[in-house]
Every structure is written in C-alpha cells, then in structure tokens.
C-alpha cells in the first residue's frame, strides 16, 4: 500500500515538484524530502545495518539530490532517480568505510519492530544474515530490494542502472547462494 502511494505520483507531479525546488522553493524541498525519506532511510538501513550509517547515507542522498536537482529531466521517475543516488551513496559509503555490521545487538529488537512476525529459529536467522552479508554488493542490493523491501525489478533496474534481466539474474544468483548457505535448514522450507 505504501508502494502504491509512490506509484501514484505522476511524472507531472515530479516535474512540478522539481521545478519548484530548482526555483529555490524551500517548501518544495521539504515536500520532496518528506515524500521519499522513509524509503531511502529504510533501504539504506537494510544495507548498512547501522542507524548512524543509515542516517549519514540518507542525508548524503538528499544533499546530493538537492545539488543535482537541476539535472533531473524526468526521463525516469523522481523515485527511481533518488534511489539511484541513494544506492550509489550507500554502496560506495559501505565500501569506503569498511564498517562491518555487528550482528549481535539489534537482532532481537528487530524481531519486535519488524513488519512481519518471524517465527524462525535464532540460529537460522543468524546464518541467513551472515549469508546475505557475504553476498557481493550487486547481489545483496538486488536481494534486499526485491525480497526484503518489495521493490519491483523495474524499480531495481532503474535504481541500479542495469537491465531488468540483469536484475532478475542477480536475484536468481543471490537466492542460489543463500540456498547453499542454508542447506542445513532444508527441512524448514521443504515442509
């Protein structure tokens, strides 16, 4: 449903909003921020696994977006354009800072605030988290966006600037790697 709200924004609305931002309308800047900040923050948090990093990435995304807003031509949706910036910032930032998430603390808290109650075994969750972390950036980004955050392949392809088929291929590869990593838990999904 949240996704539908974003989808409902027409390109006309995007262009109008961007035009106001370029003209220096502070209210338009805030509107743009309010519209997309949740998705950007959630995605960067999923990738970073750290609130401080997620905040930094989100802030950097909007700072860069406001700097480059004049170059937005409406060829893609504003959401795709912003996600492209956000992914670039997050993946480059993670690569540069080389900070590895500490898997110990927030996991239990995550279970309580997550959208869907998960009834998986703690060992399984830990194994899956490590397996996802070990994926390469491109596989991990596609997997997190599609299977965790619910993005479509069209959105993923636009944000990562790759063909849709490549997005699907990356997802297939990522799932295959995770399946191997979780082979010990095969009875869980077979049953």
């Amino acid at each position: 449903m949240e996704m539908a709200a974003y989808e409902s924004r027409s390109s006309v609305n995007d262009i109008q909003l961007v035009t106001r931002v370029v003209a220096g309308d502070a209210a338009a800047e805030r509107e743009l921020y309010e519209t997309y900040v949740d998705r950007i923050y959630r995605l960067t948090f999923r990738l970073a696994g750290d609130d401080e990093l997620a905040r930094d990435f989100t802030q950097a995304t909007f700072i860069r977006a406001f700097e480059k807003i004049g170059s937005f031509r409406g060829e893609s949706s504003l959401s795709t354009w912003l996600h492209s910036i956000g992914l670039s910032v997050a993946l480059n930032g993670l690569r540069k800072t080389k900070r590895i998430r500490n898997r110990e603390g927030p996991m239990e808290e995550g279970l309580t605030v997550g959208v869907t109650p998960i009834q998986a075994e703690p060992d399984l969750k830990e194994r899956l988290a490590r397996a996802i972390d070990s994926l390469s950036d491109k596989y991990r980004a596609v997997f997190v966006m599609h299977d965790v955050e619910g993005y479509t392949h069209e959105e993923i392809a636009g944000a990562l600037n790759i063909p849709i088929g490549t997005s699907k291929s990356h997802l297939f590869q990522a799932r295959g790697k995770l399946r191997i990593a979780l082979a010990d838990f095969a009875p869980e999904w077979v049953s």
Binding site: R30, Y33, E34, V37, D38, Y41, R42, F45, R46, L47, A48, G49, D50, D51, E52, L53, A54, R55, D56, F57, T58, Q59, A60, F62, I63, R64, F66, E67, V89, N92, G93, K96, T97, R99, R101, P106, M107, E109, G110, L111, V113, G114, V115, T116, I118, A120, L124, K125, L128, A129, I132, F143, V144, D147, V148, R175, L178, R179, W189, V190
Partner: protein, 289 residues
Amino acid sequence: MTEDNFEEFLKKTAQGYNVPPARTPREEMWSTIQSKRAAGPQVVYGGGSQLREPAPRRFGSKVWLAAAAAALLLVATGVGIGRWTAGPSAITSVAVNATTEKPVVVVGSDQAGGSTTHQPANESGSGSEATVSPTPKVGSRNPEGRSASSAQSRLSGNEATRVATTAIPNAADRNSAYQITTTQHLSEAEALLTSFRSRPTADRQMDAQLGAWARQLLSNTRLLLDSPVANDPQRRPLLEDLELVLVQIVQLSPGSTPQDREMIEKSLQQDHVMTRLRTAIPAGPQRGS
C-alpha cells in the same frame, strides 16, 4: 514446488535482516541536511569517515600531473635538440665557469689541438697585464673534444686563435660576452705594446716572442673586427689601428733595424694607440663578469 517453498521461506526469514527502526528520524536528519548544505558539499559518513567524491578529483590530478610531465618532457627535448644542433656550428661564444660563474673565453690551438683559457677580467684591477689561465672548459660542446688542460703561454707561437664556447642563453648575455672578450683582448694588446716599447733594443729572443704574441693577438683582432663588436663606432677604429700595429710587429724580423722599430713607434704615437687602448679598458674589477 520446493523452489517456490524456498523463495517464500527466504522472504519471510529475510524480513528480520537489518530491520530498520519503526520511526524514521525525519526531523533530525532534515536539520543535519540543512546545516550540511549551509556548510558546504562535504559529506561525512559513519561518524567521521569522509566521503568527498574523491574519484573525479583523483582522476583530475592525475591528468594534470601527466600533462605537466608531458610539458616538461617536451621542453627538455626541445632544449636538448637545440643545444645539440647549435653546438657544432658555434663559432664564437662564451663558456660559463661553473665555479666562478664568470664567462670564460676558450682559445684553442688548431695545430696542437689544445687550448688555453683566458679569464676575461683581471681582478687586481691592473689593466696593463692580461691573464692567461688554464681554466678547463665547463660544459663545452666542442665536438672535437678539445680540452683546456694545457696552459699555453701567451707567446705560444703560430696559433690560430679560435674562440670556442658554450651556452649563451640570450642576446644580452651574448653581448656581455663580447664586451668581456674585447676588454680582455685590448688588455692583452696593451700589455704587448708596453712590452714592445720597453724591450732591449737588440734582443733577438724577445723579438721572436713578441712576434708570436702579436700574431696571436692579430688573429683575435681580426675576429673581433668581424664580430658585432666592430659595430661600435669607437671600437672599430681602435681595432683597425691596433691591427696595423700588430701587423708591423709580426713582420718585424729578429734582424730588424732600429728604423723598423722606430716606424712602429711612430704609428703608435700618431694614432695615440696606447692612450685609446687604456681609455677603452675599464679600470678596476671587470664589469660584466
């Protein structure tokens, strides 16, 4: 079927992966964004690590570095080619002594293959005595590899004077070099004429030495007459008169009569050669050195 089960299982389980907080810290992040935008484009991640979009800048600096290196190489190649091609054809120029930074005129002997090096200035300030010192050539591009290791006497006989040389950076330095060379030559000529006038009347050995010295100076005089130095309206007549006197001295045989020497003396007096020579030689430390 198993594949579908796995996908569903994976999606459910993965919901617990890096679960974000329920509330997005909108206001805090907005405040930070505003302050950072006001401060500048620098973005800091992870509590201190800086992300400054370094790739374009690194690339840019490499480009400039490469361009600077290429320019330097081009200039060095040009200078090298210029020096190489200009070296063998140089007839008259001045070498710069690396230790004293004084221009040094290298006078070579065609016969002996050696050369003597004349310091252009007499630091003692005595304009009546020219110096001949065996200063080695520095950086000479003489293709025949002549060295200045042997210090020939100023009375070294039938030597054709050759002025060899090295790098002359520009016209101003070249002009200065000519001035130094001329002053040096005139000083030496004055010394010769003074020796000639004060010599014993019947000394054959001295006559022979003076004749050889005069021959060397005569060659230098003619070279200077063909050089830009002769463009000076005061220097040219002096050099021409000096040439005449030197020819007379060279032609003075060891068995010459007193009348022959008297004739030379008259030439010196009529043309006021000695006075003009001393006037042309600056007193004190050599200027332009």
